[in-house]
Symmetry: C2
Subunit: 216 residues, 2 copies
DNA sequence: TTGACAACATACCCGGTAGTATGTACCTCT
DNA sequence: AGAGGTACATACTACCGGGTATGTTGTCAA
């Protein structure tokens, strides 16, 4: 109440813009998407977007941040739980994969954002934002790396380079981003089934024994 | 000799353009890459490129085709060999992965090309080209699918959906496209080592038994 | 040597897009 | 009720980039 005026209606508007932007960016890619595209999919005009975001890049970065935040929200509780390592890793893998499917449009932006980071950035102002986003993504991967190396030291998994193992695991769990499409008859169990196959593949790939991943 | 005039010097020029284009498209993505970018990296101007290609899309398509052709060239001999299924699949997986690393810039274009196909295409003329390229890519995947299903029916591999298994395998083997970078002290053995780890991960993920993939 | 053509470079056009400047309706607080 | 601010829409500018039209140079064949 005593906070900034009109604090209540602001958030849903931002959410709408973020959702529309995420969909457009997923459909056409960052540089092929125009602000007018996003506005049109909102039934609005540029003014609406530029009232809330200073630039196309800022909008994209916020989609990135939003997507990553959603990942943290579902993963951290599992990572901080006191399960055995094998159970924890299994749980994290499948949960991550389900999140990829459920928030596909945001996660595709995260993916493309990582590529944009590797390429040349834009203004120095945005550099700082990029560094922050990069750190966010790194921290997320670090959660998995910790559990991965715990699993390895406990003899639960077998791999050579943990960096490569981490990349391979993410590629497997993220793979629905690139071939999954929403259809009509798809309910929660359909998504669950896909995530199970991906997680099973990833955990097998990491060299985990069958009895540890049987019911993923 | 009696073929089209100046058949000899034409090819190197095209190769140069394709190489430069592949590098630019990898570095900045298709739509963020301008023809001037490609020309500049050649030390030339637009005229040179538009003399050989009618449009930016045509150039990109040719990079795609070139990349796929290189894949066929190395894979088909293995696929047509009379090895046992396990050996053949192992060999194909690693060979494919090495090809991804060696011709990374072309393969990144193939990857982005697949995404462009899924999105809206451009002119109807280019539609036909796209269909041809799509078929090329599908045929390539089909080679793997055949061996994959043979492996499954022989009890060498375990997976549910063969389509998903195929996707997951490709994601693993293609993963160096997104994190591998050329450095100084990298020789053939370095690449071979990376490809081994990726192939091992993929074959494990497909549920192959350890004794079949020990020396990948 | 000269015409024809290949292989470019140069100069230009024009549509699309990021970003801005301005107008306007509505809402809130005093 | 009126002043100020929010939340947009409208109208405009500036520039970039795809594509084209035209000029220039070398080469080869007759």
């Amino acid at each position: 109440m005593s906070a900034s005026a009109t604090a209540n209606p602001v958030r849903p508007v931002q959410e709408d813009i973020l959702n529309a932007a995420a969909h457009c960016f997923m459909d056409r890619g960052y540089s092929a998407t125009s602000i007018d595209d996003v506005a049109r999919s909102l039934g609005a005009t540029k003014g609406r977007i530029y009232h809330h975001y200073r630039s196309k890049a800022d909008l994209f970065f916020d989609v990135f941040r939003h997507g990553m935040q959603m990942n943290f929200d579902v993963l951290v509780p599992i990572a901080e739980s006191s399960q055995p390592t094998a159970d924890k890793l299994r749980d994290m893998a499948k949960t991550h994969c389900i999140a990829m499917i459920r928030t596909q449009h945001f996660q595709r932006c995260v993916w493309e954002g990582v590529e944009l980071l590797q390429r040349g950035a834009t203004t120095p102002e945005q550099r700082e934002v990029l560094i922050e986003l990069q750190a966010m993504r790194d921290n997320y991967a670090e959660i998995f790396r910790t559990v991965l190396e715990a699993a390895k030291s406990e003899g639960l998994a077998r791999f050579d380079s943990s960096s490569i193992a981490l990349q391979l695991m993410f590629m497997s769990l993220n793979s629905p981003l690139f071939w999954y499409r929403e259809r009509e008859g798809q309910d929660a169990s359909t998504i669950d089934n896909i995530a199970s196959q991906c997680a099973l593949f990833a955990l097998r790939g990491l060299g985990m024994k069958e009895e540890l991943i049987a019911d993923v």
